[in-house]
Symmetry: C2
Subunit: 234 residues, 2 copies
């Protein structure tokens, strides 16, 4: 069945791993973390335990780098049976600070796509994570001028999107979301009567992964880049 | 000169220390932190150093409990010359987690004032801090039903308020902000042509304090509680 986009007036963009590189930095950070703790455990085990700690702390800390830093510190103490050195904990804090200070690396063709799409649609950003960190990245990205509205959400569930659309006075069937996460940027939108295009990034955080059966009978397209989105919409 | 409130249509409320207790929990946390490090330094010195660390990290971490936790960990390592125990660092993480899990304690007469004011004005919340933490507190407070809009800001400078009023289509001269911080809730509003009422809380974070001369010739009232705001406005 062909998907019809003629009603779309507003396009929402996810930010991390849709407009710019993000997950790669977390993977690098996890590797660095594992290296510092390599005399206690294998990289694989450290990775698994850190992930569990993040998920345990997620309801309290939410998404973003600061919560990730706090989970790394807690995990280092636990993994080392209270033996991790102050030096290593300082290094862990440094990993996080470096992440917060990273320049923004736009994905290929992003600005061209925004220029093109902004001629025909109202564009907004809907991202989750630390408020300040996301605002800083948007500022650094140079992309702010293409967007009518920036919304940083504490989560990206159906209710969050419903509230956002209501607040901006956007009818669900005139809204298209574009993002790399099936769980956060695609499925909740389809479920509230909006549309979505999936633009995968090569790396996906385990927590964002969905099982194949959750995507069955869901009406969305997957394309390989923002450039391809323009072709799909025209 | 009498202040005229007849144009006011929308009232914005700060949240922390205006609707509910907040700063008190930070003071308690700082005391607990100083106790854990008491064999390294005097409470007074620890307090001063922690404050300096928070201000140093503020541009990177922003406001809120997670940044405060990270600053406490960093300060403990520095103050102890890399000698603080893993046990103490775990205790520091626990201080922060307890803060995040604290029940919301409404200030006296807040709900009555909101009931009364919502009959005549559109009410919004404009608060800064961690997004998830502020949303959680609003949820726990039971006050959500009185507000048309909740905005969590990364900072409360003139530009942040300008963008907010523009986004909500509110004319500055029809907007009144109510809050406990002269620096964040009063002066920036006066400077952009809106109005403000100052409702002090007994404890103010050093960073939020302003010098007397900054408030000279500024046109705002100070009242002792939200209940008194109703009298001023009627």
């Amino acid at each position: 069945m062909e998907i019809e986009y003629s009603k779309i007036k507003v396009i929402g963009f996810d930010a991390d791993d849709t407009l710019w590189v993000n997950e790669t930095y977390f993977r690098d950070a996890e590797q660095e973390f594992a290296k510092y703790l390599s005399h206690y455990e294998t990289p694989n085990k450290i990775d698994q335990e850190l992930y569990k700690m993040e998920i345990k702390n997620l309801p309290l800390y939410g998404y973003g780098i600061k919560g990730f830093m706090l989970s790394m510190v807690e995990m280092a103490i636990e993994l080392s049976n209270n033996n991790v050195s102050n030096h290593t904990i300082s290094k862990i804090l440094e990993i996080g600070k470096n992440m917060l200070n990273k320049p923004v690396e736009l994905l290929d063709g992003v600005e061209d796509a925004l220029i093109e799409l902004s001629k025909k649609y109202r564009l907004i950003v809907a991202t989750k994570g630390d408020l300040l960190d996301q605002e800083r990245k948007l500022e650094k990205s140079g992309l702010l001028k293409y967007f009518h509205h920036i919304e940083v959400l504490s989560d990206k569930k159906e209710d969050n999107y419903k509230r956002l659309l209501q607040h901006l006075d956007i009818k669900p069937d005139s809204f298209l979301m574009i993002g790399n996460s099936l769980k956060s940027d695609v499925l909740p939108l389809i479920n509230i009567g909006a549309q979505a295009i999936h633009v995968p990034f090569h790396t996906t955080w385990a927590y964002e992964q969905v099982e194949y059966k959750q995507t069955e009978n869901k009406h969305y397209k997957t394309v390989e880049s923002l450039k391809k989105v323009i072709e799909v919409l025209s």
